[in-house]
Amino acid sequence: MTGRSRYLDALIPWLLPVALVAAWETAARLGFLSARVLPALSDVVIAFWHSLRDGTLLHHVAISSRRALYGLLIGGGIGFALGVLTGAVPIAEKLLDTSVQMLRNIPHLAIIPLVILWFGIGEEAKIFLVAIGSLFPIYLNTFHGIRTVDRGLVEMARVYGLSSSALFLRVILPGALPSILVGLRYALGIMWLTLIVSETISASEGIGYMTMNAREFLQTDVVLLGIIVYALLGKLADSATRALEHLALSWHPAYQTKMAVAA
């Protein structure tokens, strides 16, 4: 591929967004779009600049990120541990899987009223909801990943005298890792969704609070800013997982070819 066509290739995905933004800005400037419906992008950028300078944006982002991270760590940790347990120990699967599947089928956002009754509207409520939301995708994919590890490899490892812990660390866990990482990416999506909903319903800090507060004062530009920040944070988390995948799955032929193309 020549240098020029590579640049063109890199540009193509951005053509449509840039055109849309240009159309939006023009429509807002010419007054076709009321600022209450959709403010001009330049107004959003100004709102971004203001909230960045007085520190409110970073404050809210930090609060939201902390909730997301804690919730993910707790929920993901429990999901992973349960998945390993049920995946590796048949009696644990018999005992736990049915119950977990029943709980999984409850939409976790449906328990918000109950959560508010239990925890009030403090940090615990949001972290709890995020944890519940990210638990199940990680549980399911860990369980599935462990169950689908090549039996032949496990048998080989036994023949070659690996202890149970070595078998788990060197054969089962790496074999299940691609599936676990799929679960993690899925959990990240649910994590942001849950956080947005729970912050919108009741909060005194965080991006959700920032946007709801702005809605009261008809600051559509700040509302839009909050939405964009959510999108960016989601994209950032997804990129981080993809980087983790590249790091952890560098042995995988699919990742090797990708890296060869990039190099």
Partner: protein
């Protein structure tokens, strides 16, 4: 990979009953020059059933230390079960399996098994696959074993970039690293192309000659069996239908008339 250059004087240590028509060529029966690290194998009236189906039906078999035995037979004839009994992956329902006069109970560290597929861990580099048991000093031992199979320069590659034959060679190195007394080969060459298979034959013969372990090879390929082994067994319905010794000296030429006659004799019984 130049097996032909290594010319150890080695022939079958014991004469087994040949069909009268097959006159073995004159052979030198001196085995003193070999490092005798192989372990003897004995099956005593061994029975193994899966549910109603009796796969091994009262097997009595003795394999002296260091012998290269090939077992041929149709699919479902009990060949793989026999190897799994030897490696301790399965336990017999009746009778005993003894290695070096000790009954096999559980997995045996002196027995190594080469599977039909290489079964390398794709997430570990070649050298870490060879030293999978992580015994003390495994890096040096793994490097030496890789050199034995001619893959010393691939130690730090991922298994995914190796060819099928190279993967089987890595698996062979993994089996050799702790100097097993018995090497079990479960059709490890079946999926390879003809040229690669021939290379693997030379390699296995050469390594067997230097290490002196007892070898049990399972194969569908009768020609492969008579080319490689000291002794060919036909397993049919869980019993030994034919027990034939192959006294030809190594290296064995492909077109040898005596081998062809043995091959025909085996094929009649399969």
């Amino acid at each position: 990979m130049r097996a032909a250059n290594i010319n150890l004087r080695w022939v079958s240590p014991l004469g087994f009953d040949d069909p009268a028509a097959l006159v073995p060529p004159a052979a030198d029966r001196d085995i003193a020059g070999r490092p005798g690290k192989g372990l003897a194998i004995r099956f005593e009236n061994t029975v193994k059933s899966f549910g109603e189906r009796q796969v091994i039906a009262g097997l009595d078999l003795e394999i002296p230390a260091g012998q290269f035995v090939a077992i041929v037979g149709r699919s479902g004839g009990g060949k793989t079960t026999l190897l799994r009994l030897l490696s301790g992956l399965e336990a017999p329902n009746q009778g005993r399996v003894l290695i070096d006069d000790n009954p096999v109970a559980g997995l045996q560290s002196s027995v190594r098994l080469l599977f039909q597929e290489a079964r390398l861990l794709p997430w570990q580099r070649v050298i870490s696959n060879v030293g999978i048991a992580r015994t003390p000093g495994w890096r040096e031992a793994a490097q030496a074993a890789l050199a034995d199979v001619g893959l010393a320069d691939r130690a730090h590659d991922w298994p995914a970039v190796l060819s099928g034959g190279q993967r089987q060679r890595v698996a062979l190195a993994r089996a050799l690293i702790n100097h097993p007394g018995v090497l079990l080969l479960d059709e490890p060459f079946g999926a390879l192309d003809a040229l690669t298979r021939q290379e693997m034959h030379q390699l296995v013969t050469q390594i067997w000659q230097t290490h002196g372990f007892t070898t049990v090879l399972i194969t569908h390929d009768v020609r492969e069996a008579v080319t490689l082994a000291d002794r060919v067994l036909v397993l049919r319905d869980g019993r030994i239908a034919l027990d034939l010794s192959v006294p030809n000296a190594r290296p064995r030429a492909a077109g040898n008339a005596h081998l062809a006659a043995l091959e025909a004799a085996v094929l009649k019984e399969v």
